[in-house]
């Protein structure tokens, strides 16, 4: 990777982190548990990496096996995380 690409990825990182802090500092305490499980679901975005790693042809390579394990785990994280958050939030009624 070139230094240029690295720097620009760092820009994205810095801006997104700052934005994250601003947004999350405003979430009311009532919603902290759903926030925790919801953001946990978002962290399952590694699923993108897992999918790309699965793309290896032939099972002989460790890469493909690792990718498939990663894919199953990340899917659990994503699907389970969103589902449980939704279940929780569904209960909040006025």
């Amino acid at each position: 990777m070139s230094i240029d690409s690295l720097i620009i990825l760092i820009y994205v990182l810095v801006l997104a982190s700052y934005l994250g802090f601003e947004l999350i500092a405003k979430v009311p305490p009532t919603l902290h548990t759903p926030l925790m499980s919801g953001s946990n679901a978002i962290s399952g975005i590694t699923i993108v990496g897992a999918l790309l790693a699965c793309n290896e042809l032939g099972y002989t390579t460790l890469s493909k096996w690792m990718g498939m394990i990663a894919l199953i785990l990340a899917t659990i994280n994503v699907v389970g995380g969103y589902a449980v958050t939704d279940r929780m939030l569904k209960m909040f009624k006025k």
Partner: protein, 461 residues
């Protein structure tokens, strides 16, 4: 890379951001979570567009397996078990990051002949490190909360030096990997060290501190996603990872602040221990008991009631029967509110989730700062399984480990009824003088069972 794919990734990043933003308001939160999941779906679709058709079958099988497991847990879990659940999922996310990093490492160092880029290599090593710690750390937290391993801090001599040695070895192995990328032994060492470090850093922390740890590990899993983003040169991973990282750090801070402890103090562990010694010494408090009928009459006679729920309510699953109590009181025109302490229970917002589960409107849940000067005008405060959050020692006793933690001023009410099973201590392991106050009556027994009895008594009045 294709422009459509890139734009889809951008769109999915924006959806994550808007989803988090919508978590700011209770009424929008569910839609926000949905939006964020749509963002995830779009990211997945964009990725599938780059994939060879040949791999599709395996991919779908993996996705189906993962989805079924995820859905099974998500619908089976009790609301009281949310912390465990988050820990478990979080651990899986961490392990997935490790697996992706290894996969990429293998590809770049063994399959392709090309020299591995230094930035990529650093990202891979960081991914293994953070992901590994997240995985085993979360598993230990899960087992502790689950009760499968002891919740009390496991400490041994030389623990901190050992951690330091592991850390140094990790750095050395990283340098070795850098100098000789194709030697997989070093990578194996890196993976092992980070897995062990995850265990070592979490076992000394008391079971009750686990929510703080989980929140921190959640933040780590976000950072692991970021490093994966650097490996793959992919922005959506970086944006999503940064959001998760920020959310974990802020929640950790909020919990530490509300407990009046520093993060370092939590992480160095052993909090439960010092306290355990104190347990025997405390002066024994003389309390007044109250029976079920008398409690029912007190409710009937009051014109305003504030309920202070705590961890015990979660344990007893007493939220539904409290709703019944509320309905009875409101029928009698008794004003009925809930006072929510920021760290009541074991997770931030824990009480809100449980009371919401019991169909109690979130208007009735009043935050500490807002309700604290209402107690003095309140006839009856009903403390259900709360202990530390109403302990006046936090204000009066500078020796107490909870000194300085803001509390709910329940002691100011005309009459207080406390529902708990025994004189058992709370999370911080300290005596609570409040129970000996002249205006305080103890209603011993499991919260769910005793409150159910109180409700049936009230119905008969």
């Amino acid at each position: 890379m294709n422009i459509t794919i890139q734009l889809l990734y951008l769109f999915s990043s924006v959806l994550f951001i808007i989803g988090i933003k919508m978590m700011n308001k209770t009424k929008d939160a569910r839609a926000g979570n949905l939006l964020s999941s749509v963002g995830m779906l779009i990211a997945i679709i964009a990725t599938l567009m780059q994939i060879e058709v040949i791999s599709m079958v395996e991919i779908f099988i993996c996705i189906i397996i993962g989805s079924l497991i995820g859905l099974y847990y998500a619908y089976k879990v009790e609301m009281t078990q949310i912390p465990e659940m988050v820990a478990l999922f979080n651990g899986f996310g961490g392990l997935a990051s490790v697996a992706v990093a290894i996969s990429d490492y293998w590809l770049k160092s063994q399959i392709t002949v090309a020299n591995i880029d230094i930035i990529i290599l650093v990202s891979i090593i960081l991914s293994v490190f953070i992901g590994g710690i997240t995985f085993t750390g979360s598993m230990v937290a899960f087992l502790k909360l689950n009760g499968r391993i002891t919740g009390s801090p496991i400490t041994f001599k030389g623990q901190h030096p050992l951690n330091l040695i592991m850390l140094i070895s990790f750095i050395l192995a990283s340098v070795a990997t850098w100098m000789n990328p194709s030697d997989i032994n070093f990578m194996i060492i890196l993976v092992l060290i980070s897995l062990v470090l995850g265990i070592l850093t979490v076992i000394p922390i008391g079971g009750a501190d686990m929510p703080v740890v989980i929140s921190l590990l959640n933040s780590y899993s976000g950072m692991a996603a970021c490093t994966t983003g650097f490996i793959l040169n992919n922005n959506v991973l970086i944006v999503a990872g940064a959001l998760v990282g920020a959310s974990g750090i802020i929640l950790t801070q909020i919990m530490c602040k509300a407990m009046n402890r520093s993060l370092v103090n939590v992480l160095l562990g052993g909090f439960g221990q010092t306290v355990a010694g104190e347990q025997t010494e405390g002066p024994s408090i003389i309390v007044k008991e109250v029976g079920v009928e008398e409690a029912a009459m007190l409710f009937d006679g009051a014109s305003s009631v504030i309920v202070v729920p705590g961890y015990g309510m979660a344990v007893a699953q007493a939220q539904h029967v409290i709703r019944e109590l509320m309905e009875q009181c409101e029928k009698r025109n008794i004003s009925f509110k809930f006072a929510i302490h920021p760290v009541a229970g074991r997770m931030p917002g824990h009480m809100n989730v449980l009371l919401a589960e019991a169909n109690i409107s979130y208007d009735k849940l009043i935050e500490m700062d807002e309700i604290n000067n209402e107690f003095s005008n309140t006839d009856l405060v009903f403390i259900v399984g709360a202990n530390d959050v109403v302990n006046p020692a936090a204000e009066t006793n500078p020796q107490s480990p909870i000194f300085g933690m803001p509390i709910l001023n329940a002691y100011k009410a005309r009459t207080i009824i406390v529902s708990k099973r025994s004189m058992g201590k709370g999370y911080a392991g300290v005596e609570n003088e409040l129970f000996g106050y002249p205006n305080c009556l103890m209603l011993f027994g499991d919260a769910k069972q005793t409150i159910a009895k109180v409700v049936s008594e009230i119905k008969e009045l």
